[in-house]
Assembly symmetry: C2
Homo-oligomer: 153 residues x 2
DNA sequence: ACAATACCCGAGTGAATTGCTAAGATATAA
DNA sequence: TTATATCTTAGCAATTCACTCGGGTATTGT
């Protein structure tokens, strides 16, 4: 499978979507997220450590504690979540979004391939940065009402 | 690094580009490709076994043998090469380009994420399928003449 | 005939990554 | 003070990656 994401991105996005669906309800415990999304709670804790350090979620410790989105769902792009959990988007080291772009292209012909990797990178980033958590919540509502509609035909 | 390609795709594309630059000159030995592209010859052999079985290159055995592109450079898309060497393009198992799409989406909300992975997949495929080996050879010529132009300023 | 060349094939392997689990420390509400 | 949560570090089995090793087979020039 080419250009695959790891479970960090997959689980992390699912969990953040879960928080977005409950935005405004106060802190949500990882235990409940883990149960709904069928993900290991301990593993989720690790992902949320990254998300918290990146400023995407806020934590409340102690009983009745949990996590909330640090911003409104429409202010959080899917691309941000993926970058925090998986690192900069880059099909190849030499076209990483990070500043220190590494040393490649000692050979001239490498650069021809490089322009391809740049296009791939930008098209991926374009998709992920065009979708917010709010978009996902809205989409989920649409899918639900569509199901209902189908049912009554 | 998110959504990274392995060296199979990287080396394979470089090697196929090398053959494209020498298209019409008869069989090119892997040894020469490996030297020019600075890739292990044995490793390249493995990649070309896949490329040959997929019908992208033809082999000529024995002394003075080597590999040639099975089609003209403009008839070979970068996406084909990547798929042969890395498998179907799929940021997630459940949105693979292959027929047997696997079992995901037992949960409804998964499908919201799924539409995102589908968009990512299609945007990647769109880029890779829009570029042929001929495009790369032309691009290499442009880069060369640009260098020359810069030099004489 | 016989080297030399080059493709063909399968097994193995060390290093890195992945996807967790285990064990505990710390903070807060009831 | 107890139950509930977040935090933190360490470890680990399984898989994947990027090759290497050791052959075999086909073809060409001498």
């Amino acid at each position: 499978m080419a250009l695959k994401l790891s479970t960090r991105g997959e689980y992390g996005l699912r969990a953040m979507f879960d928080l977005a669906q409950r935005y405004g309800e106060g802190p949500i415990s990882l235990k409940s997220v883990a149960e709904r999304q069928d993900i290991s709670e301990h593993y989720l804790e690790q992902l949320f450590a990254s998300l918290r350090k990146a400023g995407l979620v806020r934590s409340v410790r102690g009983a009745q504690g949990g996590y909330t989105l640090a911003r409104e769902p429409r202010e959080i792009k899917v691309g941000e979540i993926i970058r925090v959990l998986e690192g900069p988007i880059a099909p190849m080291d030499c076209v990483s979004e990070e500043e220190g772009e590494g040393t490649c292209c000692a050979r001239a012909e490498t650069c021809v391939a490089r322009t391809i990797w740049e296009k791939v990178r930008d098209s991926i980033a374009g998709v992920l940065d065009s979708i917010t958590l709010e978009d996902m919540v809205e989409e989920a509502h649409k899918l639900q009402s569509k199901d209902k509609y189908m049912y009554y035909i």
